[in-house]
C-alpha cells in the first residue's frame, strides 16, 4: 500500500497547553482511518494540521513524500467535511457543490455533469435548486460530502461529521459513508469520539489521549489486544485488574492463579489484566465468587455489577441474577488479556462508581465541543 500522508514527531501547544505531543502517523492509500479519543485528545487538531488550518510547533507533514507544511489549505490536495457542515448559506445546493469547480474556472457543461454525478452519489438528485438552509441535518451532511468530494481529493478529512445527527440517521450515514469511501477509493480520515462508530467503519483506528497516540490498529486488534488501560477502557467496557504475571501463560489476580494465553513477560512482572464483560460467564461454583450489587436490563442482555473481594466487575449476560445473589464466575483463558503497566494503570476498569447516567453526561459534554 502506498503511503499518502506522513506526520512525523508533530507537536502543538495552544497558550502553553500541549495539545499534540510528538505524534507520528502514517496514512495509506484507500484506507478508512479513524482518529478516536475523548474531547481534548488532539484528534481535531491533527485533522486541522493536515488540512492546513493549523501549523504544528515542531515536526513534519508530508504528502506523497513531499513536505506540505508551507502550503496554504487551498493548495493542498485534501478536502474537509466540517463538523457543522459549514455550507454557504447564500448559495443553493448546486452552487455549494459546484463551489470548488467555479474557483478553478471549469466550463459550465462540465460543472453540470460533475455536480449531477455527485448528487447521485449522495442521493440528492433533484435538490439542485433548494436552499441549503431548508435542508434537514442529514441532507446538509450529504451536500457537505458532495462538495468536499467533487474535486476528487486524494484524502477526505471528516471532523465528527455525524455528531449532530440523531441515532437512526447516524447509523444510516455510517453505512453510506463507508460505501462512498469504497466507491470512490478516496482515503478517509475520520475524527470521532464515538468508539462504536470507529469500530464499525474503520480499516484502521488510531486511539488518542492527551495529545498522544495510544494505539494504532485494526478495529479487531484494538478491541481484542488493547495496549494499555486507557484503550481497554475507552473501547467498549472492560474490567481491568491489577495482576502479576507468574510465568508464561499463568497470571495471578484477585488472589487466584488463572491460566491464560499471553507470553513474553518477565517472571513476576506486575501487569494489567483486561476481561471484557461479555466474556465473563456466570456459573454455580466458578473461579471467583461475589455478590450482585446492581442489575440493568438493556434489551439484548443484562448488565450486572458484581462485587468480588471489593473490586466491582461488570458482566454482560443473557442470564439473570438478582441483586444480593451470590454468584460464581468463570473466564476462559483465551479471554484473559494481559497488558504492560502504563501511566493509565489503576485509573480505569473498576465499576465501583459506575452509572449509565455519568456516561451519557460525559458524552453530551464532548459533543458540545466546538
Amino acid at each position: 500500500m502506498r503511503k499518502i500522508i506522513e506526520l512525523k514527531n508533530v507537536s502543538k501547544a495552544f497558550d502553553g497547553q500541549t495539545v499534540l505531543d510528538n505524534v507520528s502517523l502514517d496514512i495509506y492509500d484507500n484506507e478508512f482511518l479513524t482518529l478516536l479519543g475523548p474531547s481534548g485528545c488532539g484528534k481535531t487538531t491533527t485533522l486541522r494540521i493536515i488540512a492546513g488550518f493549523e501549523s504544528p510547533d515542531s515536526g513534519s507533514l508530508s504528502f506523497l513524500g513531499e513536505d506540505i507544511l508551507s502550503l496554504p489549505p487551498h493548495r493542498r490536495n485534501v478536502n474537509t467535511v466540517f463538523q457543522r457542515y459549514a455550507l454557504f448559506p447564500h448559495l443553493n445546493v448546486f452552487e455549494n457543490i459546484a463551489f470548488p469547480l467555479r474557483e478553478k474556472k471549469v466550463p459550465q457543461d462540465e460543472i453540470r455533469g460533475k455536480v449531477d454525478e455527485m448528487l447521485r452519489l449522495v442521493a440528492l438528485t433533484g435538490f439542485e435548486k433548494r436552499s441549503v438552509t431548508s435542508l434537514s441535518g442529514g441532507q446538509q451532511q450529504r451536500v457537505a460530502i458532495a462538495r468536499a468530494l467533487i474535486s476528487r481529493p486524494k484524502v477526505l478529512l471528516l471532523d465528527e461529521p455525524l455528531a449532530a445527527l440523531d441515532l437512526k440517521l447516524r447509523k444510516d450515514m455510517q453505512q453510506e459513508l463507508k460505501n462512498i469511501q469504497k466507491a470512490t477509493g478516496i482515503t478517509f480520515v475520520f475524527v470521532t469520539h464515538d468508539q462504536e462508530e470507529a469500530l464499525s467503519m474503520s480499516d484502521t483506528v488510531v486511539v488518542m489521549s492527551e495529545g498522544r497516540i495510544q494505539q494504532i490498529g485494526t478495529p479487531i486488534d484494538i478491541y481484542n489486544e488493547p495496549r494499555n488501560a486507557f484503550v481497554a477502557d475507552f473501547i467498549g467496557e472492560s474490567n481491568i485488574l491489577s495482576g502479576i504475571m507468574l510465568q508464561d501463560r499463568l497470571v495471578r489476580f484477585s488472589g487466584r492463579d488463572f491460566p491464560c494465553v499471553d507470553e513474553g513477560f518477565a517472571r513476576n512482572e506486575p501487569v494489567d489484566v483486561v476481561i471484557r464483560p461479555e466474556d465473563v460467564v456466570i456459573v454455580p461454583k466458578g473461579q471467583l465468587r461475589g455478590t450482585v450489587t446492581s442489575v440493568t436490563f438493556l434489551g439484548v442482555h443484562y448488565e450486572i455489577i458484581v462485587d468480588i473481594g471489593g473490586f466491582k466487575w461488570m458482566i454482560q449476560t443473557t442470564g439473570f441474577a438478582d441483586v444480593g445473589d451470590e454468584i460464581g464466575i468463570y473466564v476462559d483463558p483465551e479471554n484473559i488479556h494481559i497488558m504492560k503497566k502504563s501511566e493509565y494503570s489503576g485509573l480505569f476498569g473498576d465499576y465501583s462508581s459506575f452509572s449509565n447516567e455519568f456516561d451519557e453526561l460525559s458524552d453530551a459534554e464532548s459533543e458540545a465541543e466546538p
Binding site: H74, N79, R84, A86, F88, H90, F99, R102, E103, R147
Partner: protein
Amino acid sequence: MKEKNGLRLARRLALGPYGLWAMLFILVPLLFVAYYAFTDNDFAFTTDNIARFFTATSVSDGVVTHTYLLIFWRSLKLAVISTVICLLMGYPIAYILSRSPLRTQKILITLIMIPMWMNFLIRTYAWMTILQDTGILNSFLRLLSLRPVHIIGTEGAVVIGMVYDYFPYMILPIYSVMAKMDVRLEEAARDLGCNSFGVLRRVIFPLSLPGVISGVTMVLIPSISTFYISQKLGNGKFYLIGDAIEGQYVANNLHFAAAIAFILMVILLIGMALMQRYANSRAAA
C-alpha cells in the same frame, strides 16, 4: 385562543406610544412638507415650487450663483465620495474587528463611538482649527519643514468632515453582520480552493452585503442632506442641497424649501428601493 387575543392586545398596547410618536412627529410633518411643496403663499395648489427647482437658472447666496440641479449634483457627488471612502476604510476595519478577541472588540467599538458622543458642531469646528491654512495640520507640517497644504475651503475639506462625522454609521452595521458570520465558512472556502481574495469575493462579501447596504444607506442619506459641514469647512463655497433648504427656510420661503426637501426625499426613496432590489437579487442568486 383567549390568551392569544390577550397577547395580541398587549402587543398592540406596547406599540401604542411609538405609533403615536410616529404619527405626530414623522407622518404628520411629512404630510406638511408635501402640502407646503405643492401650495403657494396663499395655500392654493401649485406645482411652481417643484418646477422652480428644475428650471431656476440661478440663485444668489451671496458668494456664487448656481442652478439647483448643479447644487443637487454636487451634494450627490460629495456624498457618494464620502460614502465610498467610509466603505473602503470601514469594511476592512469591521472585518478585523469582528475577528479580534472579544475584549479588543469592545475597546475598539467604544473608541469608534466616542466621537458620536460629542456635539456635531464642535466636531466640525475642531476640523476647522485642524485644517485651516494656519491650523494645526499646517503648523505640524511646517515643524517638519514640509510644505503647508491648502485644504480648508476645498471639496476635500468637506469630504473629510463628512467622512469623520458618518464613519461610525458605516462600521457598526457591517461589523454586526460580520461578527455573526461563522468563521468555519472562511475555512471551508479556503479548503475548497479559494485564496484570501477568493474567500473575500465569494463568501465574506456576499454574506456581509446586508451590513454594507445598511451602512451605505446610513452614511449616504445624512451626508447628501448635510448643510453645516459645507458652510464651515468649505467656506460656504460649496453650497449643498441642505444649505439650499436651510437658506430658503431662513429667508422664509417655506414653500420652496419644502419643495426641495420633497424632491430630495423622493430621489432618496427611489435610490433606496433600487439598492434593496439589488440586494434581494443578490440574495436570491
